[in-house]
Amino acid sequence: MSRTEVDSVAAERNGQGISDADGEGDTVIEVSDVTFGYTAAPVVEDIDLTIEAGEYVAVVGPNGSGKSTLMKLMLGLLRPDEGEARLFGEPAHSFDDGERVGYVSQHASAAKEMPITVREVVKMGRFAHVGFGLLSADDWAVVDEALATVGMAEFADRRITKLSGGQRQRAFIARALAGEADLLVLDEPTVGVDAESVEAFYDLLEALNDDGITVLLIEHDLGAVVDHADRVVCLNREVYFDGPTDEFVGSDALARAFGAAGGILGGAR
């Protein structure tokens, strides 16, 4: 395992100063020496990762590589066994400024039988802003705008359980948009979404990123990642690669992280 190679790539990237988006230079996510395991065996090990404001980062890796676990550590849903995860400069587990983070999960199943409309789901995106209060007219405008952005305006009053998987996923994306967050975290957001919409969805993410929103994408669809993300983190328990997407395509990190399967995928490209 060439830790040195990983380090040098990371160092090089930092040296270049990827913060092309703007001069803010705020650190959104900072993961240092994090190790975590649900049992004795670590799921992720010695992870060092820093994400600056305005970046578009994709985390890729084979199934069971710890992608989702790493995301939960970053969001403070889990606490590292060793090391530290910080979100907007605060320890992630005690971070409570929820309006800065938008989250789209992999399982858009939530409560399966609950009667609730698409608009009510998207409305939840505003809860971090309104707290105990009522949604103002402005809040509702943001909700409707988010619905229109994902093309679901016509579905606003549909019961979400009656929708297809792809439509439901759009609703969850709209909820994250309605939060007007500084950081969007998406865990395989396009599972079940039709191919045409997937393309449009990644365009939307790019547009949001151009507006200065930091995007962290957990994805197994390597094609999408290579086409859209600025920076790739290739993970399989440890970080195999962390750098600009172009370098990732040329490197052998994929093959090493994915093993034999990576070779096949790489050939297909």
């Binding site: 969001l75 849903l77 971070f95 409570d96 400024d97 929820g98 309006e99 983070v101 989250y103 999960s105 939530a110 409560a111 039988e113 609950m114 009667p115 609730i116 409309t117 009510e120 789901v121 939840m124 809860f127 971090a128 309104v130 707290g131 105990f132 943001v142 705008e145 988010a146 229109a148 952005t149 994902v150 093309g151 679901m152 305006a153 016509e154 579905f155 009053d157 549909r158 019961r159 009656k162 439509q167 759009r170 909820r175 948009l177 309605a178 939060g179 007007e180 975290v185 919409s197 449009a200 969805f201 365009d203 939307l204 790019e206 547009a207 949001l208 151009d210 507006d211 929103i213």
Partner: protein
């Protein structure tokens, strides 16, 4: 959040096992030590009674000529609001069983109250001890689930049977004159709704409705998508604790009429019916309250004229309404109300929400 106001807090002190002697003497005097605290509510109850009496005179309904029926109807109306209100949040998290478990621990609470009254001659309403015991059991269940990371059937079943076993043992220990009163708690009773118990229920009702009203956003988010709620900064564990404690309060409040064994039905059946016919969450809340009120009022009416146990009749009516709701839901689906699928718009990449 919950240690509610004066009423329950005061009782927590009273129900504490090592009771000093002075308070005992104090409490022996009247039937209730809480009379001064509850006085304003008694006044409201009298107003309500006058109103119902007038309604009875106007309509000639026989069941409205008794004071206890006035209170029973008021209690029933409150149950019809608060049970489905809390039940909606429970059912959609697959926590329907928790009401049953808490009802059985509340029974243990009743037994504790009766036991203390028997041994120490405290004039405490057993419903108040039931509130304390059920809330503690609720917290226990919640903490167990936090530690083990899942609500599981087994721990719920253990709490349920422990509560019931404790209740039966305590009651058998001082069986003196107490076995008589047990049916009332097991099956509920319209005619034993005393002014004090009705007042206690009104206090519980106010706490429950106010808490849900204040925290509806957070409760909805936690119910629908716990992970996303946590990411958005909501302290999920705290809301779960509040929810189980409110459940305990509902269960104890509804127990007077419904009885330990049937009380959980009010948390679940109207909500299940509303789920069949509602599209939005707000609608399902309203519909479940309407269905529950319907079941309560029809049930009380039927049980009065049919001379049957109110709790059982109410539940049967609620189930009948549920069956109708399922049929209506299926009919609607068959008629294809929702089939006119609208056009799915494209994802608009240019329109960054900012």
């Amino acid at each position: 959040m919950t240690p509610p106001t004066g009423a329950v807090g005061a009782v927590a002190a009273v129900a504490d096992p090592p009771i000093a002697s002075p308070p005992v003497a104090l409490l022996q005097s009247g039937g209730s030590a809480l009379d001064p605290v509850l006085a304003p509510i008694y006044f409201l109850l009298e107003l309500w009674s006058l109103l119902m009496g007038a309604l009875g005179d106007a309509t000639g309904l026989g069941l409205l000529q008794y004071g206890f029926m006035h209170r029973a109807i008021l209690v029933g109306l409150c149950i019809g609001v608060m049970a489905p209100l809390i039940g909606t949040f429970l059912v959609h998290r697959q926590l329907a069983l928790i009401g049953d478990a808490l009802a059985h621990t509340a029974f243990a609470g009743v037994a504790v109250g009766l036991f203390l009254n028997g041994v120490l001659s405290l004039g405490v309403s057993p419903y108040l001890t039931a509130v304390v015991v059920a809330v503690l059991a609720a917290l226990l269940i919640e903490v167990i689930s936090e530690v083990t990371d899942a609500y599981n059937d087994v721990s719920m079943a253990i709490v349920l049977s422990t509560g019931f076993a404790l209740g039966t043992v305590l009651i058998s220990l001082n069986a003196g004159g107490l076995a008589v009163g047990i049916n009332q708690y097991l099956f509920g009773n319209l005619s034993t709704v005393s002014a004090e118990n009705a007042a206690i229920l009104l206090v519980l009702f106010a706490i429950i409705v106010a808490t849900v009203g204040l925290t509806r956003n957070q409760l909805l988010y936690v119910t629908f998508d716990e992970t996303a709620a946590e990411v958005s900064g909501i302290p999920v564990n705290w809301y779960n604790r509040v929810m189980v404690m409110l459940t305990a309060l509902v269960v104890v409040g509804a127990m007077q009429i419904m009885g330990v064994i049937l009380v959980a039905a009010m948390l679940v059946v109207p909500v299940a019916g509303a789920t069949q016919v509602s599209r939005s969450f707000t609608e399902s809340l309203l519909v479940s309250v309407v269905l529950a009120e319907l079941a309560v009022l029809l049930g009380i009416g039927f049980s009065y004229y049919g001379e049957a146990t109110a709790g059982g009749v109410i539940v049967l009516v609620a189930v009948a309404i549920y069956v109708v709701a399922v049929a209506v839901g299926k009919l609607r689906e068959a008629r294809g109300d929702d089939d006119d699928a609208p056009e799915l718009g494209g994802i608009d990449a240019d329109d960054g929400v900012a």
